[in-house]
């Protein structure tokens, strides 16, 4: 055995012998005259503090806020286009959905700056003239393992955009996009209410929200394990 080992041993023995001197076993007796009210007050304070942290501070920290790259106005454009929403959000022939528009859908009108607005000028000089696609942030974006089909809901199921998206289509400005710092998912998946309460059908779009409606509408409830929707209906 080396001398270092012996030294280490000696040190640890020292520490052991010191413990009874520092640690005082008479703490319990002092507590008797401290009032019980203090303990309850302390508990309540701690409880309130953790509620505040959990319900207000944590959600604030959890989500980072991002502005959309261009201030787009739906209400104004809906009056200008010929085919309503379909002019910008359309189905391709193979049934896939075009999603947020590409520059190609804007270029006919925005080749040059038309009006006075700063937002338009910024859009035209930064994106149209440089031929850069706008990196739109998508509120409804689901994780990559999810398969969603607009054609099944909108064409076959005859559903309204508002059911799932709320009033974005009629809005005058794009709200702030919030991103979960841990998962990188949009806040619209969990919903803005941290407790997970929802009043409108579009407040949240977690797996259970899709599954709940599918259960009601009896969409492919073929799973052997859960007796609900089969996983490969919405996943891949």
């Amino acid at each position: 055995m080396s001398t270092e080992d012996e030294q280490a041993k000696a040190v640890s023995e020292d520490e052991i012998s010191e413990i009874p001197e520092t640690g005082s076993p008479e703490i319990g007796e002092n507590e008797q005259d401290g009032s019980g009210a203090m303990i309850i007050l302390f508990f309540i304070l701690g409880f309130v503090a953790s509620l505040i942290v959990g319900w207000i501070i944590f959600p604030k920290l959890l989500y980072s806020q991002k502005q959309q790259p261009v201030a787009f106005n739906h209400a104004m454009h809906n009056e200008l286009v010929d085919e309503g929403c379909e002019s910008c959000h359309f189905f391709r022939e193979d049934g896939s959905y075009s999603g947020v528009p590409k520059l190609a859908q804007c270029i006919d009108c925005h080749e040059e700056v038309q009006g006075e607005s700063e937002a338009e000028e910024y859009f035209v000089t930064e994106y149209v003239q440089k031929e850069r696609e706008v990196p739109w942030l998508i509120y409804a974006k689901q994780p990559p393992c999810v398969f969603f089909s607009h054609v099944a809901h909108v064409k076959k199921g005859d559903m309204d955009c508002v059911t799932c998206h709320g009033n974005i289509g009629e809005s005058e400005s794009l709200r702030v996009y919030e991103e979960n710092r841990i998962s990188g998912y949009s806040r619209d998946i969990w919903g803005s209410n941290i407790g997970g309460f929802k009043k409108n059908s579009w407040d949240r779009m977690k797996m259970d929200d899709c599954a709940e409606c599918h259960r009601k509408e009896n969409v492919n409830q073929g799973s052997v394990q859960t007796e609900k929707g089969a996983c490969f209906v919405c996943h891949r």
Binding site: D94, S96, C145, A152, V219, G222, C231, F232, V233, H235
Partner: protein, 264 residues
């Protein structure tokens, strides 16, 4: 939503036609973003959803014969969808869909316990020992319709489920309620230069797979057609991949027939 008749997707693989070229394996890897490594010498660690096995009859020269056997996931139905892997999964990461007959695997749910690998008699389930590393630039050509897997999860053939989803989308777009046989074909089926693989709905008498296999649904899906067999039939896994061979030794090997005879 109206209830169409439940589907049961399956395959018939004609082993007399298979030349063992491996096109199905390559097509599958490309379609499904199957990871690979620089050094694939240790086959126990490699991942391949479709694998071609070489069978031999073990006889000396004049009688020697070989046969290649492509093996995707067999999508066992077992009894009422309780396939071996589905019954053992503690996480509901793998599931049987009674509407399509496809055994699903959700990678985000899987925590890599590998019970399913132990339960599967066909070795179709593979474990990711490493995070996939794509050669520079190759991540650009991954299939966007298939989620990539991470280290520590099990994966397997899905009968190219993304193609089924997209086929339905196209059908809905064209105002059709249902898809046609040719709308949904797996990558391996289309890649096979010998046309050895046939894919379709075993429940649909108009589909070629049904006509080839003539499954006896009242009898655990056993093939009624001549020269057809399923792998390890006697285990009762009720798989949906049927094999066809005119050679008796191949059919016997498919059920470990010889090994059982020796014991008896």
């Amino acid at each position: 939503m109206k209830h169409e008749k439940a589907k049961k997707f399956g395959m018939v693989i004609d082993l007399d036609k298979c030349t063992g070229c491996g096109s199905c394996m390559v097509a599958c890897m490309a379609e499904n973003n199957v990871p690979f490594r620089e050094d694939e010498t240790d086959k126990l660690l490699s991942v391949a959803w479709m694998r071609v096995y070489k069978l031999t009859n073990g006889k000396p020269f004049p009688d020697a014969d070989i046969c290649y056997l492509p093996r995707p996931c067999q999508h066992c139905e077992g009894h009422h969808g309780h396939s071996p892997c589905v019954s053992v999964c503690p996480a509901t990461a793998t599931d049987y869909d009674t509407r399509t007959g496809i055994v699903s695997q959700i990678y985000a749910r899987c925590f890599g316990c590998r019970y399913c690998m132990a339960a599967c008699p066909y070795h179709v389930r593979l474990f990711n020992w490493y995070d996939p590393v794509w050669p520079d630039g190759m991540e650009q050509s991954l299939n966007p319709d298939v989620s990539v897997r991470m280290r520590g999860v099990v994966e397997k053939c899905s009968f190219c489920i993304q193609r089924y989803q997209m086929a339905k989308d196209r059908a809905y777009m064209e105002g059709r309620e249902d898809i046609e046989e040719e709308d949904y074909q797996t990558a391996c089926t289309q890649a096979c230069p010998a046309d050895a693989i046939t894919f379709g709905d075993l429940n649909n008498p108009h589909h070629k797979v049904h006509q080839l296999a003539r499954p006896d649904h009242r009898n655990g899906g056993k093939p009624r057609a001549k020269n057809l067999f399923r792998l390890l039939e006697r285990l009762g896994t009720n798989p949906k991949v049927y094999y066809k061979s005119s050679r008796e030794w191949v059919r016997n090997l498919g059920d470990n027939h010889d090994a059982i005879q020796e014991k008896a």
